[in-house]
């Protein structure tokens, strides 16, 4: 088993969530027009935390929040075994809204590309912004850039950045492994 290195611990992730929420409050003049959408499966854990924190800062939980599954929009379909879909839960239209897409890791940019295509099914948004916990800026395959970043990680393409969330793992933290094979 390869040794991983912790790059963010529980407290550091909480601090990042706090910082990003205050950035949202600062940057969006009209929060009524904002929709937060987490990308399934693991971006949702991060989005949920951002949504909860934002609601507690604003003492208001009326911000629109949804979950988006991009399985049927992915470009690696039919490159392997069939991909299992997750649920999409967006019970509002994004027509003329500002959408804040949230994912855990921005890597090649393909998931975000698929997410933007999938989002078009819910209306024509005024604007789409992107928030990620980890930005692997040297591994992009599509010209995509995040507006809000928790941490920038400069790693080789072979490396694997794993984000753990306390909902499914024991604790939330980020670990970097030298080889992607650990995923298998």
């Amino acid at each position: 088993m390869q040794e991983g290195r912790y790059i963010l611990n529980h407290n550091q992730i909480n601090l990042i969530i706090n910082r990003l929420c205050y950035q949202i409050v600062e940057n969006y003049s009209n929060l009524d027009n904002l929709c937060i959408i987490g990308i399934q499966p693991r971006g949702v854990f991060f989005a949920e935390k951002i949504y909860q924190k934002l609601a507690s800062i604003l003492e208001n939980d009326s911000i629109k929040y949804g979950k988006l599954d991009i399985t049927f929009f992915r470009d690696d379909f039919r490159k392997g075994a069939p991909l299992k879909a997750n649920s999409t839960d967006i019970n509002f239209l994004i027509e003329d809204k500002t959408v804040l897409l949230i994912d855990d890791v921005l890597y090649t940019g393909r998931s975000i590309h698929a997410s933007i295509a999938a989002l078009q099914n819910y209306g024509r948004p005024k604007k789409i912004d992107l928030m990620v916990l980890i930005d692997r800026r040297f591994n992009r395959e599509f010209p995509i850039k995040a507006n809000y970043i928790g941490m920038i990680v400069d790693a080789l393409d072979e490396a694997y950045v794993k984000v753990n969330w306390d909902e499914v793992n024991e604790d939330h933290n980020v670990i970097i492994y030298p080889d992607k094979k650990i995923k298998e």
């Binding site: 499966p41 599954d69 399985t71 049927f72 929009f73 379909f77 039919r78 392997g80 075994a81 069939p82 991909l83 299992k84 879909a85 997750n86 649920s87 999409t88 239209l93 295509a117 999938a118 078009q120 099914n121 819910y122 209306g123």
Partner: protein, 308 residues
């Protein structure tokens, strides 16, 4: 997350594992959400061409498959034997090979001969979906029936499901029995003795000739059509007599000791197996079955398209 599916064709429910069935039903749940969006289309199968080859009449299944294919962005071609060279004496294999040489990736086929898609699957490379082969199997109907049942009564393990009517000529009955057994349901078939296959108990189902007793026993009643077109001899004295003994009306449904779910794969012979007031009652989920059919067929096509 990637999942394994054990088959590269959907020829019948008999070949599927319980995991395969759950995978289709779970994927269908996500497709049902897709077909209820303002824009009901996803690009998953945009580079796939599907031939719908129907050697037998069909309205619901053909439209349902075609809609599922279009919602998945596949290119489709339709073929009906009545307007083709089949009537000039071309064999099944020649017809399909000719279609496949036009670079078709998947074939959805309905054929009056049991085993026709199995025959084809040994000779061609395209993925095949059986849309009904004679009196043998109709796998996508069984999957959509199970999906519709689950929506109403949850997990099917231990639930009582009755299949009522012409069991002998019904491919829907056979596929339903295979599938519901794999999901752990209790199954009872009910109908006149001439329309129940002699050794059907060997599939692990109960047999009853008493409609009222069966309806009181079951959680779901899947009512089948009398298939006069497949009956070359008389199996029942008359449709009127059949409807007297096995027809379901609102009065019978109201007299039961519980609320049951009433299903029918269509087309309904109103006044024979179901009266209009029963078919349109609050017990009936017949139109929901049709909606679910599109979602389930999308799931099947989506999964098979990645099985190359």
């Amino acid at each position: 997350m990637a999942n394994q599916f054990s088959q590269r064709n959907l020829l019948g429910i008999k070949d599927l594992t319980e995991t395969d069935i759950h995978f289709v039903l779970e994927t269908a749940k996500e497709f049902k959400e897709v077909i209820n969006r303002p824009i009901k289309k996803v690009p998953s199968l945009r580079d796939i061409t599907i031939a719908n080859i129907f050697f037998e009449n069909s309205t619901r299944t053909r439209i349902s498959f075609e809609l599922a294919e279009k919602r998945l962005s596949a290119d489709t071609i339709n073929f009906a034997s009545s307007s083709s060279s089949v009537s000039k004496g071309e064999t099944l294999l020649d017809t399909v090979n000719n279609i496949l040489s036009m670079k078709v990736d998947m074939v959805v086929m309905r054929h009056p001969a049991p085993g026709a898609p199995h025959f084809l699957s040994k000779r061609i490379n395209a993925n095949i979906v059986n849309a009904g082969d004679g009196t043998h199997e109709h796998p996508t109907q069984a999957l959509l029936d199970a999906y519709s049942m689950q929506e109403h009564i949850g997990d099917l393990a231990g639930k009582n499901i009755a299949i009522i009517g012409d069991i002998l000529h019904s491919r829907v009955a056979l596929s339903n029995i295979f599938l519901l057994k794999k999901l752990g349901a209790n199954i009872r078939v009910c109908g006149p003795s001439t329309l129940i296959p002699r050794h059907i108990q060997s599939l692990g189902v109960e047999v009853s000739y008493n409609l009222l007793e069966t309806l009181n026993w079951c959680d779901v009643a899947n009512v089948l059509r009398i298939q006069l077109e497949r009956q070359d001899i008389k199996f029942i004295p008359s449709l009127r007599e059949y409807s007297l003994y096995y027809g379901i009306d609102k009065k019978i449904l109201d007299s039961l000791n519980k609320k049951i779910v009433l299903m029918h794969p269509g087309p309904i012979n109103r006044g024979v197996e179901l009266t209009s007031d029963a078919a349109d009652s609050e017990h009936s989920i017949i139109l929901q079955q049709v909606e679910n059919g599109v979602a389930v067929r999308m799931a099947v096509l989506y999964i098979l398209a990645s099985q190359n």
